[in-house]
Symmetry: C2
Subunit: 232 residues, 2 copies
DNA sequence: TCAACAGTGAGAGCACTGCTCTCCTAATTG
DNA sequence: CAATTAGGAGAGCAGTGCTCTCACTGTTGA
């Protein structure tokens, strides 16, 4: 059964969606700093106080946009991963990594919003954390499926320095149930390096150093896949 | 001979220095977004238009602060590196990496200023690029000194896939004259990972994942040192 | 059915910002 | 010593985030 919503409630979520759409466009044109609620109102043909009926303040609007950005990126990575056979870890890894970079280059300002300098004093209101883990869950799933196919080595490694590595990483064992804990450090490095590379590229730190970022990204991801022991 | 500067010129550079000091303090308290020229003026007992005698606009002041931040970080890393015997690559590597992280945690807002989201449309005015390379020069020097002590392997690797790697990386051959080009990818990964880790830590992306960042940083840097083949 | 009740937009207003311009003083310079 | 010039004062403009009151209108409970 379709949940019956009052016309008013519908109109409300439509206005909220419009505000966010206009905001995304303005951010894309002039960056986060250039986003003003007054201009959003103007674009919508409203008076300057109207948007405050929907967002208590600018930070609340930004938080909503951050949440959407995490989910948009997460969905893109999930889709890319799902296009490959779950047993082909290496293809999945490359697909996921490329999806991150592609999304970032398509939405540079939104990427900066979520992986750049945190905007307010301390924004992340738990809700965003959940959305932020969508990418790490995909990456963890790839590693988990890979290690599920090699019980011997897994058992070996697990018997190694398990406690040491385990102490440092929370939640990762949930996301990668079959990956031996001593591999967590490598997994963390890979995850960090994907975003480190994309951030360096987008924020201009490779200017004068990396000539062909496309090729370099592929080589780096290949090296990481080797280090992680991804097969095929 | 001491360069004779007129009292007026001296007073000018003193005022500029004061403006930057006050700005740094304000940024440290309320973040980059909270920096206003009017408040700087107020703190200095000046009228709101006075600072514009020294900085054409807010962006110019920010650019100056960015430049200083790069140089401050660069100097800290150089100092840390210099404290070790040049032949002990591994100790130098760890010292440099720790210096980056330490400086970042001591000046989080300034770190965000230079390694977070770029603030204006496209800020980096070449001057900053020069200052930004101080860290990479230190890292390149460490690798260079390491490879200077193993001519055999260097020659071997250099004979390998030199052209491929060389095409992607500019300037790196100047900073690391004795490092075989096929090592450039690993060097780039290491450089990127230092800052990727520090950014993730400072910007809150490890919350809920990395429990003890101090220990994890050491392990990651150790792993990198292994991958780079640093001895001792 | 009709009256009370929200939800919404309009508009004025406050405190703040970046930035410009003119005026004046006082130090510097030839 | 006269001419120049740098720097501060102060007013002012356009823009911002945000608040408050007022009026309208679709929705809802008696």
């Amino acid at each position: 059964m379709a949940t019956t919503t009052t016309p008013r409630a519908e109109a409300r979520i439509l206005q909220i969606e419009t505000i966010k759409e206009v905001s995304r466009r303005l951010i894309g044109e002039k960056g986060v700093a250039g986003l003003s609620l007054r201009e959003v109102a103007r674009e919508m043909g409203l008076v300057s106080s109207a948007p405050y009926r929907y967002f208590a303040n600018r930070d609340e609007l930004l938080t909503a946009l951050i949440l959407d950005a995490y989910n948009d990126l997460g969905a893109a990575v999930e889709r890319a991963d799902a296009r490959h056979s779950s047993s082909n870890s290496r293809a999945r890894w490359h697909a996921a990594a490329r999806a991150v970079r592609k999304w970032a280059k398509q939405h540079p300002h939104e990427y900066g919003l979520i992986y750049g300098t945190p905007v307010p004093n301390y924004e992340a209101p738990l809700l965003t954390i959940e959305a932020a883990t969508r990418v790490t869950r995909v990456l963890g799933g790839i590693l988990s499926d890979e290690w599920a196919r090699r019980p011997a080595r897994a058992a070996n490694s697990a018997a190694g320095n398990t406690p040491r590595g385990f102490l440092m990483v929370e939640n990762l064992s949930e996301q990668m149930p079959r990956v031996p804990p001593d591999q967590f450090v490598k997994a963390l490095m890979a995850w960090t390096l994907i975003f480190g590379f994309v951030s360096f590229e987008l924020f201009g730190h490779y200017v004068g150093t990396v000539r062909n970022a496309n090729v370099m990204f592929e080589r780096v991801m290949n090296e990481l896949a080797d280090d992680l022991g991804l097969s095929q």
